[in-house]
């Protein structure tokens, strides 16, 4: 048991290639475990509103939902390909502003704007990713920060086209099959559906040959290049996927808030997105979701004011990086494995 615990934990600390052992799709019992867990999660989350949890809780859940969608993009690019960004809110902003501008200038509603937001954010993601082909490591992170700050300046100086510093308003989502999305309850399920699609896509990417290639690039880019992997194409691909998720999150955000302004997509939101991914852990499937839940629900649960809760995030981030570089998700997984190992041993003793 101890060995298993170490095997699980050590590679994560060192960033080794075995870190994915926990989600190895080739072992059948792990796959069953995953499916059971996913189903339990979906049932639990879908049942939440019927538990009469109140308006405030539901709205935090919606915020958590679309934040998590954006985080999955960042999780892919950081966790799988190993490229961090501290400008990810800019991608969210592209998605949100695309939707808001289509609605304001052309009168195009939610459903038609949805693909536009996703596609434009994906293109923006690919463009911002271009410098990463030449520049790596911390230098690239600084570039992402610059792009984000540039976008905010452009949005602020865009006059009536972008709504300048005051931002833009949007209407409500048109009814589909008689479902009124003005009701928080229904909006929650919309976000939940989007989150489920995001999770499924992420799972598919992580367990595809594409995901394995990304991890190969993360672990050793030169080696990956040497064995004939088209590193550049794969990198741009993951940036586009990351942007697409952010675009989806952005349009969900703008139609939830009904009003957006440039400060929502500046340096601070970007830093918080990076913080959430690190906190939850980018390499495991549920890492970004855990990060979003912790950051969004922590102030509510612990009854902190915004200033205190931000100090708490910062401290939590320092602790996670120093003690648990794989994020909270890897810590939880280690505990789960450890408890599981204990139970199995107990069980086999009782059986023999």
């Amino acid at each position: 048991m101890t060995m298993e615990f170490l095997n699980l934990k050590m590679p994560m600390v060192r960033g080794g290639s075995h870190a994915k052992a926990g989600t190895d799709p080739h072992s059948p019992d792990r796959r069953i475990e995953q499916i059971v867990f996913a189903v339990a999660l979906i049932v639990l989350v879908a049942a939440l509103p019927s538990l009469n949890i109140g308006y405030r809780f539901l709205s935090i859940a919606i915020t958590t939902g679309y934040t998590a969608i954006a985080l999955y993009g960042l999780g892919l690019q950081f966790g799988q390909a190993g490229i961090m960004s501290v400008g990810h809110a800019a991608m969210l902003g592209i998605g949100a502003y695309t939707a808001a501008m289509l609605s304001n200038h052309l009168g195009i509603g939610f459903w038609a704007a949805l693909p536009a937001s996703i596609v434009l954010a994906a293109i923006a993601g690919g463009l911002v990713g271009l410098p990463s082909l030449r520049v790596s490591g911390q230098h690239y992170i600084i570039i992402t920060f610059c792009f984000c700050a540039l976008l905010v300046i452009c949005l602020t100086n865009g006059g009536s086209f972008t709504g300048a510093a005051t931002g833009l308003d949007v209407g409500s989502i048109p009814r589909v099959l008689g479902i009124n999305f003005d009701k928080l309850f229904n909006y929650y399920y919309l976000v939940l559906g989007a989150l489920a699609i995001t999770l499924a896509t992420t799972y598919a990417i992580m367990n595809s040959s594409y995901g394995r290639t990304l991890r190969a690039i993360r672990e050793n880019e030169q080696l990956a290049r040497a064995i004939g992997i088209n590193v550049d194409m794969h990198k741009i691909g993951v940036f586009m996927a990351s942007g697409a998720f952010a675009g989806l999150a952005g349009i969900l955000q703008v139609y939830y808030l009904r009003h957006i302004s440039p400060t929502l997509y500046g340096a601070f939101p970007s830093l918080y997105l990076a913080l959430m991914v690190m906190l939850g852990g980018g390499r495991l499937l549920y890492g970004p979701l855990i990060g979003a839940i912790i950051v969004n629900f922590l102030p509510e649960v612990m009854d902190l004011n915004p200033v205190d809760s931000r100090i708490a995030y910062g401290v939590a981030l320092l602790i996670v990086i120093l003690l648990l570089p794989g994020g909270v998700s890897s810590g939880l997984l280690a505990i789960y494995r450890w408890v599981g190992g204990l139970l199995v041993r107990r069980g086999s003793k009782a059986g023999s």
Partner: protein, 289 residues
């Protein structure tokens, strides 16, 4: 013409603060191998500390020295308590410094408040040379920066400590074998860079009011300056700081002030993509991981 000269002096004083922050970053990033995103917050704390001490009735220049001590101590604690553990994984150090910057900002907001703070003009004199009116404080800021730049330049390029430092950047293990206490040098550089940030903050609040959130604006400038000049290259940081300060100053006076920050961002992206080692050459910083 008078306006031009006045504009020049004003820009130089703004450039001074930019140079101080850029120099701190260039030393810490290029020589100690740490990207400290909280460096802007160090500067902000230098300014707030100065404001606090001045509010207690101290002379501005005494408060300035105290602020440098405070920020230096903060740098020491941050290096020994946090960055020391991530030296072999610089990316984690970078992300940790983001956390640190969030903490520092909000601790300041919590202890004081989020509104902007200013000190009364410490010198309160205006020198008149011909038709040009020069605010004395601005000239003093430029002079102090010039002295600090000279000390840093000779310290790095001429003294045996600077030599040892550059040796440990070039080849850490060989430097260690030669008896250079590399770790101690890393701490030393980090603390020195932090003190520069403290000085920059103190001078900044002598010029204009600052808020607890000024750090994230100033950090971008700092990165532009240090990356433009080449990491670890003091001359480069000074030159880049001057260019950027003048461009900023003149675009605020003559161009499109609302796009001022955009220039520096575009310059930085282009430089990072085209010449990651900076215009004047530098250490390229720590190995990416």
């Amino acid at each position: 013409m008078e306006i031009l000269i006045q504009q020049l002096v004003n820009s130089l004083s703004v450039a001074s603060v930019t140079i101080l922050i850029g120099m701190g970053i260039t030393l810490i990033f290029g020589l100690a191998g740490i990207v400290n995103f909280a460096h802007g917050e160090f500067l902000m704390i230098g300014g707030i500390a100065t404001w606090f001490f001045v509010g207690m009735g101290l002379n501005f220049f005494v408060a300035l020295v105290l602020a440098m001590v405070v920020v230096g101590a903060l740098g020491f604690v941050a290096e020994r308590g946090l960055f020391r553990f991530t030296l072999d994984r610089p990316m984690n150090g970078f992300i940790m410094s983001i956390g640190l910057s969030v903490i520092l900002q909000h601790v300041v907001v919590r202890v004081f408040d989020e509104f902007q703070k200013s000190t009364p003009d410490p010198l309160n004199t205006v020198w008149v040379v011909g038709d040009v009116h020069i605010i004395a404080m601005r000239a003093v800021v430029v002079a102090i920066t010039a002295v600090v730049v000279a000390i840093t330049y000779f310290g790095i390029s001429r003294s045996r400590y600077g030599l040892a430092l550059r040796a440990s950047v070039a080849d850490q293990s060989t430097a260690e074998l030669m008896g250079i206490p590399v770790r101690r040098y890393v701490t030393g550089v980090f603390v020195y860079g932090s003190i520069l940030a403290g000085l920059g903050g103190a001078l900044m609040i002598g010029l204009f009011p600052i808020t607890p959130f000024v750090g994230s604006v100033i950090i971008t400038r700092g990165f532009v300056v240090s990356l433009m000049g080449g990491l670890g290259n003091v001359n480069g940081a000074v030159l880049a700081g001057l260019v950027l300060g003048l461009v900023d100053g003149f675009s605020a006076g003559y161009g499109y002030p609302e796009w001022t920050d955009a220039y520096s961002l575009v310059i930085m992206i282009v430089i990072l993509v085209v010449r990651p080692q900076g215009l004047l050459g530098g250490t390229l910083g720590p190995k990416a991981s």
